[in-house]
């Protein structure tokens, strides 16, 4: 977060007065210490039109640790009167970032003040981007040394509390969207990309889809199989993302591996004249894959303020990824089937055994790792 500083001329008398007031403040505060205390900060963001007003409030003990000031009560004195406040604001800015529509924002430091009831120092900053933002990404790494540090974040959009979150070392970043059409569109686009990305980086999902289309059988049949898979995982993805039902990963992940073994085995069986069970298999195990997608979505985070649009976007992204795989493989297999049927049969057999082996490996790996 880049900062431009506004220097307010301060007369010496004001400086003296500020120090007198600070002395009073320092003396009136309890002499509690940081040992055996929580480490926390607050970030309040007012997002109104094109203006972003940010207040970062640090507990004096944390701020003192950051600056190497001892005793911490002295910090409040200096924070009110100027130079230390700027230095601290610069340190805070280096660790607390806000991006607007994926671009860095330039913030102006407005001033620092004490918050006696919280034993804290508050820094006021503002950004005035050239155009209204559709989304912001907030990242807090304020205290990397204090691994349990928490930043309590509140984002107000046009005066309404839109998002509340706790940023930690394990969850340092959050994206917030405007709730209007522009914000919904931004969330939709972002989550379509996330859904596609997940399909392309997930070899288990790719292999299951490949297993479903390996036998071919014409466009209509493939469409039916893929639709069954889509319908199933859409149901469970929505259920899990909305918090209605989410089985543990220790159950879901081994079952996804079993789905891969099953589709490989089914291909071998069908190839020798058995009935084609791909659509029911796609639906049944598709339910498990939906829970798998949801766990990834849980890691990405679903913005509650544009929940429907982001969930729809993620699901469509997953579909788009699937369609890409089908469009890439199905025509090639169809062509091979027409041009060299014996080779195609060998490819199906070898492919199915490969799928079974991969699925089996993942099953053992996931069971031994507890999911």
């Amino acid at each position: 977060m880049g900062i431009a500083y506004l220097r307010t001329p301060m007369t010496r008398r004001r400086v003296t007065l500020a120090r007198v007031l600070a002395l009073g403040a320092a003396l009136s505060l309890p002499a509690t210490a940081s040992a055996h205390d929580q480490s926390f900060s607050y970030a309040d963001i007012e997002w109104r039109g094109a203006r972003l007003a940010v207040t970062v409030t640090l507990h004096r003990d944390d701020a003192a640790t950051l600056l190497g000031v001892a005793p911490a009560s002295l910090l409040l004195a200096d924070a009110v009167s100027g130079p230390t406040a700027e230095r601290l604001a610069r340190d805070v800015a280096a660790r607390f970032s806000i991006r607007g529509d994926a671009e860095g924002l330039r913030f102006r430091f407005l001033g620092a003040s004490t918050v006696p009831e919280r034993n804290s120092v508050a820094f006021a900053l503002e950004a005035l981007p050239r155009r209204p933002l559709r989304s912001i990404a907030v990242e807090s790494r304020l205290f990397t040394v204090a691994t349990q540090h928490e930043t309590f974040l509140k984002v107000y959009v046009d005066g309404r509390l839109t998002r509340q979150d706790v940023l930690t070392a394990g969850h340092p970043r959050v994206e917030v969207y405007r709730t209007d059409a522009a914000g919904a569109a931004a969330a939709f686009t972002r989550y379509v990309a996330a859904g596609m990305h997940h399909i392309f980086i997930g070899p288990d999902h790719i292999l299951f889809i490949v297993g479903l289309i390996l036998l071919g059988g014409g466009a209509r049949r493939i469409l039916g199989v893929v639709t069954a898979f889509t319908a199933a995982h859409s149901i469970t993805l929505a259920l899990a993302a909305l918090g209605a039902f989410r089985p543990p990963a220790s159950v879901v992940e081994p079952l996804i591996a079993i789905s891969i073994v099953t589709i490989g085995w089914d291909n071998l069986r069908t190839r020798h004249g058995g009935r084609d069970w791909r659509a029911p298999i796609a639906f049944g195990f598709g339910l498990m894959h939906g829970f798998g997608f949801a766990s990834v979505l849980g890691e990405v985070g679903l913005p509650r303020e544009v929940l429907a649009w982001s969930l729809l976007g993620f699901n469509l992204g997953v579909e788009a990824g699937q369609v890409c795989i089908v469009l890439l493989i199905a025509p090639a297999l169809g062509l091979l089937e027409r041009q060299a049927p014996r080779l195609a049969a060998r490819v199906v057999a070898a492919g199915s055994w490969g799928i079974i082996a991969a699925g089996g490996f993942w099953f053992v790996q996931r069971v031994s790792a507890g999911g």
Binding site: T32, A35, D37, Q38, F152, T168
Partner: protein
Amino acid sequence: MGSMTRPRITQSVHAALVGARSLVLVASVTVAAACLPPIAHAHEYWLAPSRYDGIPGAPVSIAAVAGTGFRGERKPWSPNHGVRFAVRATKVLDLSAAAAAGELEWVRFSPSDHGGALLAFESDFTPITLDPERFDRYLRDEGLNDALAVRLAASRRLGAAVPGRERYRRCAKAWLTGDIERRATVPFGLPFEIVPLVAPGSGSTLPIRVLAQGRPVAGVLVKAWRTRLEPSGMPTDPSARDSSVVCWRGTTDARGEAVLDVRTAGEWLVSAVTMVPSSDRAIADWESTWASLTFERR
């Protein structure tokens, strides 16, 4: 006209005087800060209800305070670190769902009868490292003699003192006065717990039992502090009041019990701490659990 421009020499003198005054003030802050009570190695942690009288329908604001000498500052609710936050009244209610992250007032709760209510909070572990001297002094102050003996033996063996790598957690309880004694006297099931054997505040003595994982613990140092109530009978602001000195100190007997003298009216804090070798040596060498019980005596 003369006041508009000050001669250069006078300006310099004025600046020097202002600078000197500022220096004196900054020095005063330093001296004053140095004169304040020394920063403790250990902080008590307690639940601080806005009232203890447990009147049905009267809302009670619940906060948690960390500090020393029964004075301290309110700490925000953290869903990441709160393992359990509940109340036992007509039934046991989970309060954590109603607590808002970052708020200093954790929840508001209204008793529904005159039976009293027992609030309980358990946190997860927080790691901390203290320098050797400071850690050993803290062990000595808190009567954690077993841990101290192990550390001193290790220091002698290694030929150097080692820093105190500790992780700590909190188990705090507060009693809102009422006439159904068992709500207070039945253990809550916290990992380390001060269990009153009678309703706290109901008599001039308070027999207690200290439990660790449900079992009585002998030889635990128990301390108690008292602070006055407002004339209205409400507790005073824990961040604005004076520090209190320990007004009762004792050690649990073979049955894990102790009897506190609580004859003076006021708000009471009873605290105890246990320390055992850490079950996760990658994070800490020691793990402490701090138990507290707050109540009022009229």
